[in-house]
């Protein structure tokens, strides 16, 4: 009852609850929140429990730099919830921040994008987490569907549209026609695996240990998926494992390309598998129009070139690929109001 009343003062939200970043699209306002999915927890011995110290960008700055009583954690792993309670607290914080209110607890209608490969248990955990965070109504939609809609693909047409959404924890590839998913697959490879591959490469070849944040910075600065004419370099600092002291060294883009080969081949394999499994008529449509890349991983330099060379199909990157899923979810909320939740077979 109270949720219904508070619902009148809350905006409908579409939440891209990602492993790396959480984005919130507010109906009528656009993307109102883009924060890392990180929560800093402080062990409060006085009160005998855990207290949320910081959430989002503030907490991410603490990653790897926390004292003993503070732990900066990512409550989502591979696109699904790893820590239910912390996820609920994080969602509660983000929903309140998206509404910008301190006077009452918002109770919005929420649409959450979930990985296509998530299990029923994982979906239920996400739903209950959102309800615990104050949502009065929760819809779940597969991420590739939201990504395709957000990218502006003609998902309602009787023609095949292929989308590849590369997130922080998972990569989702799907072929969509007539508002439904014909084929989809989810591989647990994403931006986090890229960072991990860079960390492993540096440790293996330089004997130096670097943190998550440094690995991510290297990926953004000189990361590449396809050999280019230009070789870029970046200066990196890490701890030398044999000497035990911090050292500075230089990495170049070709080394990072080599480091990323394994996760990249996993994604390419998933796309090829999808093309093999797609019915021939829809496959012909995809070959004619191309594959659309969305998600933060699509911003890896020359990833589209790699996929074009590997598949022989045109590949384009959507406008503002990082926000496609959240924007698509927002459009789905509008379509739910117009046609009901059955239009996309939503849960």
């Amino acid at each position: 009852m109270l949720k219904n009343i508070l619902g009148y003062f809350s905006n409908d939200l579409s939440i891209d609850l990602g492993t790396a970043n959480t984005l919130i699209y507010s109906r009528g306002h656009g993307i109102v929140l883009d924060e890392p999915s990180v929560v800093a927890i402080r062990e409060d011995t006085g009160r005998g429990g855990r207290v949320v110290e910081a959430v989002g960008a503030e907490a991410k700055n603490m990653l790897g730099r926390t004292p003993g009583n503070i732990t900066a954690i990512r409550p989502l792993k591979d696109g699904v919830i790893a820590d239910f309670t912390v996820t609920e607290k994080m969602l509660q914080h983000f929903i309140r921040k998206a509404h910008g209110t301190r006077y009452f607890r918002p109770s919005p209608r929420v649409l959450i994008c979930v990985p296509y490969g998530s299990t029923q248990v994982e979906r239920r955990a996400i739903r209950e987490s959102a309800e615990g965070a104050g949502a009065r109504k929760v819809h779940l939609i597969p991420e590739p569907m939201a990504a395709a809609i957000g990218a502006g693909m003609p998902v309602h047409e009787a023609r095949g549209s292929m989308v590849l959404d590369i997130g922080g924890g998972t990569s989702e590839v799907a072929v969509i026609s007539l508002n439904g998913i014909v084929y989809a697959a989810s591989v647990r490879i994403g931006g986090d695996r890229f960072d991990e591959a860079i960390t492993n490469y540096v440790r293996r070849n330089y004997g130096i240990l670097i943190g998550e944040a440094t690995a991510e910075r290297i990926k953004h600065e000189i990361g590449s998926a396809f050999p280019g004419q230009e070789v870029r370099e970046a200066s990196v600092k890490g701890r030398n494992l044999s000497e035990g002291v911090p050292r500075s060294f230089t990495l170049n883009s070709n080394e990072i390309l080599e480091a990323l080969q394994e996760p990249l081949q996993g994604i390419v394999g998933a796309v090829k598998e999808a093309l093999e499994q797609t019915p021939p008529e829809l496959g012909a449509d995809v070959a004619e129009r191309g594959i659309v890349l969305t998600g933060g991983g699509a911003m890896l330099r020359d990833l589209d070139k790699l996929l074009m060379e590997e598949t022989g199909l045109p590949v384009v990157i959507a406008d503002d690929p990082l926000t496609c899923v959240a924007r698509g979810g927002g459009r789905v909320i509008e379509l739910i109001d117009e046609h009901g939740p059955a239009v996309f077979g939503l849960e």
Partner: protein, 294 residues
């Protein structure tokens, strides 16, 4: 693969827009169309459609924009210029910039919280008004109940038991108003003279309205008649619709104000004696008169 890339090319004709700008740049560099098609992994007709600004041939906007960006990159034309042309031609707009939390919050742009605050204040005021109304109406009921004894009798033999008529009243489904029945008949009003004598010596309330002799008013209804009877204190002794066959007995401190909606359907008795409604008190079927102390 990027052998055609040049930096900062401004060779395109000013009149050329979007695809035409790309075609001109390609021709200036003597790049065959099929090479561009090969790089973009598109059919030659699709590339030609791009150059002739027939974007609908490429399907949805996301494909046309993606291929335009790649094509511009290949022939060294600034991507922003080509996309600007595209948005002008299609009368569309680029995706809105991210509204980051550090740049804005909905509260700064939306009047929602102010409206919410106002609605909460209004709701609180409405609740306060409701509580005030409830409390004041309760007091009115208590005032009605205390000094007045109202009884209703039926002329029918099997319903000859006297009925007390306390407020509040109930409304039946057919809209008529009736009164709750008391379990026991109330005792008759005490004798005014003895009450006055009793209270004269030891009570400071002597001389107050309670000590004045009450009037006994009996209303015998032969048909429907809306009736209101109030005493000297303004308290309602009876308020409702009298039905045929009912007798309502009320007693109260005079003067009693009586309003009868259809006076022809009512026989009035005061202190056991018949009372004739004066012609001056009648106005059509209704009658309004005052019963003074006797």
């Amino acid at each position: 693969m990027n052998k055609w890339i040049i930096s900062g090319s401004e060779n395109a004709d000013d009149d050329a827009i979007a695809g035409q700008r790309l075609a001109r740049a390609r021709q200036e560099k003597n790049i065959p169309l099929r090479d561009i098609a090969k790089e973009l992994h598109l059919d030659e007709p699709k590339v030609r459609a791009l150059e002739e600004n027939r974007f609908e041939d490429l399907g949805a906007a996301v494909f046309a924009k993606g291929h335009l960006k790649k094509y511009a990159d290949l022939v060294g034309v600034p991507v922003d210029d080509v996309m600007s042309d595209y948005y002008k031609m299609t009368r569309s707009t680029p995706p809105p910039p991210l509204v980051g939390p550090q740049r804005s919050s909905p509260r700064e742009f939306s009047p929602g919280p102010w409206i919410a605050g106002s609605v909460f204040l209004l709701a609180a005021a409405a609740i306060a008004a409701l509580v005030y109304w409830y409390l004041t109406s309760g007091e009115a009921n208590r005032i009605d109940d205390n000094p007045v004894n109202t009884t209703v009798e039926s002329q029918q033999p099997d319903e000859s038991v006297q009925e007390a008529v306390p407020l509040p009243r109930e409304t039946t489904q057919d809209g008529a108003t009736r009164f709750e029945e008391a379990e026991e008949p109330l005792p008759a009003a005490p004798d005014a003279g003895s009450q006055a004598a009793d209270s004269a010596g030891n009570s400071p309330a002597a001389g107050e309205p309670d000590a004045v002799a009450e009037l006994q008013l009996s209303l015998a209804f032969s048909g429907d008649c809306w009736t209101e009877v109030s005493d000297a204190n303004g308290a309602r002794l009876f308020f409702g619709l009298g039905n045929a066959g009912r007798i309502v007995n009320v007693s109260g401190v005079p003067p009693l104000q009586v309003l009868l909606g259809d006076s022809d359907n009512v026989a009035v008795q005061v202190n056991g004696g018949d009372y004739q409604i004066a012609a001056g008190d009648r106005r059509g079927n209704t009658a309004s008169f005052t019963l003074e102390a006797r």
